[in-house]
Amino acid sequence: MFEQTDPNQIQLNSEGQLKHYLTTEGLSRELLTEILDTADSFVDMSAQQVKKVPLLRGKTVVNLFFEASTRTLSTFELAAKRLSADVLNLNISTSSTSKGETLKDTLMTLEAMHSDMFVVRHSDSGAAHFIAQHVTPDVAVINAGDGRHAHPTQAMLDMLTIRRHKGDFAPLVVAIVGDILHSRVARSQIHALRTLGAAEVRVIAPQTLLPKHIEALGVRVFTDMNEGLKDVDVVMMLRLQKERMTSALLPSESEFFKLYGLSEEKLALAKPDAVVMHPGPINRGVEIESVVADGPRSLILDQVTNGIAVRMAVMSMSMSGQTTEKQARLGNGE
């Protein structure tokens, strides 16, 4: 009874360019490819002596982390600095928000400092959408992970890593293995892989770690890893949180490893040239065997390098989309 507009359109300006980066869902193949192409150019640049470009010179980027994460925070910081932005890192523990200050209060305070971009990590699904809906115009919002919903920079650094090793997505069979239920990474990977045209996306997990009707996202579901890994080109492992053991989702780490951990033996079921990825940090011996994580088919360190490039890409594209929209608005005499 209400007109259902695609809520992910909020990411785009009137020209169809990125102005926020909240989720990979609903973005076109052209746009995702543009992110990859832009990131590719930054990867090459990072290998050079001078690693900085002036794309965000004079802009202030606020890393607004409501959930602690040293790794993601530092790659975003580095990405912003390589774009010549001024960076402010704010670790806002949930205890300070429980003092009565609402997320909206926090946001208004930061806006008064004339920030140009918020990079947000929050434990609530939809937090980045909420912030994008409530920030003043011209401020870009980049989602650095919201609840179980989306982690779009992680997904696109994974896509970049895949493309740099495999080229075209069309023939690829990709398996995502582990705790799909609690994973924002998995959801963002699935949308990106589907849009980029991967031949088949599989999820492999016990039923306790699968969200309801996950097949509706266009994936094939396997509960048996040996079956699910057959003829796979890319194996994407997910991190398993220890607390899953105490909430009756799994009996033990060792049983999980036995059934869903990536060992050399299981990897042998995939294609001979299959590559292995993991968003980190790794639980060695829980979701992946050390010999696989450190082996020749592991792309885990490439993922980290590509992460900086992808973050530079979405930050510069979103800022540029905001600028275009601002100019259009000023041109209209507003």
Partner: protein, 428 residues
Amino acid sequence: MSQLMNIQIKGGRVIDPAQSLDKVSDLYISQGKIIALGDAPEGFEADQTIDASGKVVSPGLIDLCGHLREPGYTHKGNIASETEAAVAGGITSVVTPPTTKPIVDNPAVVELIKDRAERANLAKVLPMGALTKGLQGEQLAPLHALASSGCVAFTNGRHANASSLALTRCLEYAATHDLLVIFQPQDESLTNKGCMHDDTTCTRLGLNGIPESAETIEVSRNLLLVEQTGVRAHFGQLSAERSVRMVMDARERGLPVTADVAIQHFLLTDENVNGFDSNFHLIPPLRSQLDRAGLRQALLAEGIQAICSDHQPHDRAAKEAPFASTEPGIIGFETLLPLSLLLVNQGLMEISQIIDKLATQPAKILGLESGSLEVGRAADICIFDPEEKWSLTAETTRSEGSNTPFMNFELKGRVSHTLIDGQLVYQL
């Protein structure tokens, strides 16, 4: 003084399902009661005449669930503000849950609510009492004393009794005094901090899901214990088709059970949550399209006796946060009738059937005198234009809250007059 006024309601289409009445007729009120339909009684002189031509004259609506927020949560709403919203929606009686602060588990709180309601002098406020002390599910609340001071029914709200033994004893005690028990079924462990129906949209949004079984398991346990204890029971705000089927089956077996569903559950589904709009954050959650279709069918098949608003005003901050961190519930007093009429406009049912669900049946469930326009009854009356188009806005709503997805939505059907005990308490 105005209570003693003689009022003539002229030329309206009088619909009273309790008398199977649906005809254009005049209606006469004196001493707060309906004294005649059709021709004026001899010697009747109207102090006031209300022209109801082109409008429907129906019994005042009886809402089986509306949160007034007082005492304890007056930053969200209060008895005066919310009953003002109620009468603007044609609602003359509101049943209120015991989840105030303090909880309605002793007669003093009932007295306080009654006192505030009397001072507001708008809709009749009918408190539900807590079934157990503090809604803890352990110790029996003083049901008899609460009933004597004015509680019309008893509930443990959404806090299901952890102990089936304690629940059984509560039901036995309520049965002893022939008290009505209202279940708002929700299994806490299965709800598990969930905030929406566990299905495809939930999976995509990465929110915590509430499975249908969180409701059906409680409905099933409650039905078995109703059968064992013989208590009169009502199920409030069901959301899943399967729950309604279970209650229907039980009725067919002769159990004294009834059910209501909030109007929004006949209109919306979990897919509306797409986009994280906190105005679609409801408990029980909006369920699937199949559930919505099933609820509509059950409404037609008399499996659902009443429609309620489940009115829940909130302060802005409670709704301005990421979805899962917002508080559930929407305001609904002023939209209850027009949204119910939407079911008429969609061809599902007749206006008289809607009035049956909004007034006649709720009165029956509660055992109230009102809910009918029979001569001799209290003149609790709602007059509305079923064709008038209008929109509720944040500026015009009488409620302290403005949390509803139906804000600025084009509604059809608008209340023009509300009378309680023959007193005009609302006029458009």
